[in-house]
């Protein structure tokens, strides 16, 4: 957690610009429009921002791989209408906070970037099916690129906390775009930073390095997010080694709770049959075997 956390005090009540409205009919349900208060919302590098928010209890039940559907404020010429999905990057039940790591892409994320400490954040969730339980994993291979890190870091942390070993491959365009390296190292993960700049992120080079690690200390599970190349590589390994692989997928969403079927991606099963599954409801974490692409 960055020291900026101290900027705002979570005990200060959320300013009631729009008084929080909790319909009686929705009290006590697992998925809620959580009214959070932004504590930190700061750039971590040229591409990404980290947002920490004080959140109600319902939100703090989020598990690694789950996500929230965030209401994004208007800004400039932008009037984002639908919410935007964001993986949970960290949950701290003790501090009462949830954290997102996000890249500013378009209208919605530009709006999120304008939120200041003290502002309200409407985070609908927690949503979706996260990663398999971390317990019992002996050695997890994590293959993350770019925004994939936001999604995978909490699972790596959870496996480490449950006593498993984690090798986290962090792939990025350049060294200074690598994020969460310290956080992963701090919880005992072995981190392997590879970049386009120095050529180490090339798939075949990576394939050889990981195979060597596997030869020494076999992996018994793989998680990946953030790149089609890494997803293919992860699937190759999962098949070759006979271990479960999981991928967290992305797709633009409307409802985020399985109502609208807008967020489907094609999957191809063992028999070669293509089907559409909802990223929000059937995922966003899927068995790597059947996924066809990470994002459009």
């Amino acid at each position: 957690m960055p020291s900026a956390l101290r900027l705002a005090d979570p005990r200060v009540p959320i300013p009631d610009v729009h008084p929080p409205y909790v319909p009686a009919a929705s009290a006590g349900f697992p998925v809620a429009e959580n009214l959070c208060r932004v504590l930190v919302n700061a750039a971590v590098n040229d591409d990404y921002r980290l947002m920490v928010a004080a959140a109600p209890a319902a939100a703090l039940a989020a598990r690694p791989g789950q996500f929230f559907h965030l209401a994004c404020p208007p800004s400039g010429e932008d009037r984002p209408f639908l919410r935007r999905p964001m993986s949970i990057h960290a949950v701290d039940p003790a501090a009462g906070t949830i954290t997102f790591l996000y890249k500013v892409q378009g209208a919605g994320t530009r709006g999120l970037a304008t939120l200041a400490p003290g502002d309200r954040l409407d985070a609908f969730g927690p949503l979706g099916h996260g990663f398999a339980a971390p317990e019992g994993r002996r050695h997890l291979l994590m293959l993350a690129r770019g925004v994939g890190l936001a999604t995978l870091a909490p699972q790596a942390e959870a496996v480490a906390a449950a006593g498993g070993r984690v090798t986290a491959v962090l792939s990025a365009r350049a060294r200074d775009l690598v994020m969460a390296e310290d956080r992963l190292a701090a919880c005992g993960c072995d981190t392997l930073v590879v970049t386009d700049t120095d050529g180490t992120s090339a798939v075949e080079a990576l394939r050889a390095r990981i195979a060597a690690i596997h030869a020494e200390r076999p992996f018994d599970a793989i998680v990946t997010c953030g790149s089609d190349r890494l997803m293919r590589l992860a699937r190759d390994f999962a098949r070759a080694w006979g271990v479960p692989g999981e991928v967290a997928l992305e797709q633009h969403m409307a409802c985020a709770v399985g109502l609208c079927h807008a967020c489907v991606r094609p999957f191809v099963d063992a028999a070669g049959e293509t089907s559409y599954r909802r990223v929000c409801w059937d995922g966003p974490v899927f068995p790597i075997e059947e996924a066809t692409s990470w994002s459009i």
Partner: protein, 318 residues
């Protein structure tokens, strides 16, 4: 106590708020008590199994969204075995929505769903994505009449006709469905729209065309509801761009007996229970004991627009 109930023919709803077909599913039961709704309307099913349209299925556009989902359908067997029991746990009337490629298939699926757990069957004759260039049953007066007539003959359940707004004379279509025996008319499904990316020159939707929904379209559908309510005596259910209680009131004043909420649930997942609570507060504030009083209760404009002050000079004292 405010009486929020309204009657759609033989079906009494605890309140005038229900979801638009295709915008409610099991997932919403994790968010609020679906038992609070006036009715539960499920996604359209077809006799055959369908995957739905090619992604991308969604474009956000100002206060509107353009969707091309198609009808990913698991068919009536799955519906009766899984969907009906799931929603039967709620005390709320369950409304099934159906579509088909032929009049006979509309009748067949209506017969198949003639079970007591289903309070009414919605005929989605208006889905714009199934046929080339969106021409649907609902754009053809004869096909519209035939579908409703065949369904009424095939089932004992009330049949609600969901009209398409992509017609010139919606009131004419409402009358046709009433004459064919429909128990209610839903006004309306989504407008057919399209978007192209100027940079790639490609259509933004996998299906090229899709349904435009959301608050920006409310004035159009409200006008249609008003036109329909003036010519039919079966209940009109308003559907289009409703975000909150005030929109529900507006539709009822225009002549709707009840309303369906679609896209708003995507923006505010608790939009429906919020609307119900808001309606109760509105009625209290206005001393309305039965919400049904609002149906068609629009007033003529009261203002005296010309000569709001006397143009004839008053005697001046000074």
């Amino acid at each position: 106590m405010v009486d929020l109930s309204v009657r759609i023919g033989s079906v009494t709803l605890a309140n005038p708020v229900m979801p638009g077909s295709g915008t409610l599913a099991e997932g919403l039961a994790d968010v609020f008590d679906l038992g609070r709704l006036g009715a539960i309307v499920t996604k359209t099913i077809t006799p055959d199994l369908r995957r739905g349209t090619l992604p991308p299925r969604l474009v956000e556009y100002r206060d509107a969204t353009l969707f091309a989902i198609g009808i990913p359908s698991l068919g009536p067997d799955y519906y009766l075995k899984k969907t009906v029991p799931f929603f039967a746990r709620f005390p709320t009337p369950l409304v099934a929505s159906v579509s088909a490629d032929t009049v006979e298939d509309f009748a067949r699926i209506a017969a198949r769903l003639d079970v007591p757990e289903i309070a009414a069957i919605e005929a989605n004759i208006s889905c714009p994505n199934l046929r080339a260039h969106g021409r649907a049953f609902g754009m053809d007066p004869v096909a519209t009449r035939d579908v409703i007539t065949a369904m009424k003959a095939a089932t004992t359940r009330p049949v609600w006709a969901k009209l398409t707004p992509n017609v010139g004379d919606i009131a004419g279509f409402a009358r046709i469905t009433e004459e064919a025996g429909a128990d209610a008319v839903i006004v309306a499904n989504a407008f057919l729209g399209m978007a192209i990316d100027p940079e790639t020159r490609e259509p933004r939707l996998g299906n090229v065309m899709g349904g435009l929904t959301g608050p920006a379209l409310k004035p159009l559908i409200l006008r249609m509801v008003h036109q329909c309510a003036e010519v039919v005596s079966i209940p009109v259910i308003g559907c289009g761009g409703i975000s909150d209680w005030s929109d529900v009131v507006e539709y009822m004043l225009a002549g709707a007996t009840a309303t369906q909420i679609g896209t708003a649930t995507f923006v505010t997942p608790t939009a429906m229970p919020r609307a119900i609570e808001g309606l109760e507060a509105y009625c209290r504030r206005h001393g309305i004991t039965r919400i049904a009083e609002l149906i068609g209760a629009m007033r003529p404009r009261g203002g005296v627009p010309t000569a709001a002050i006397d143009p004839v000079p008053a005697k001046v004292s000074a």
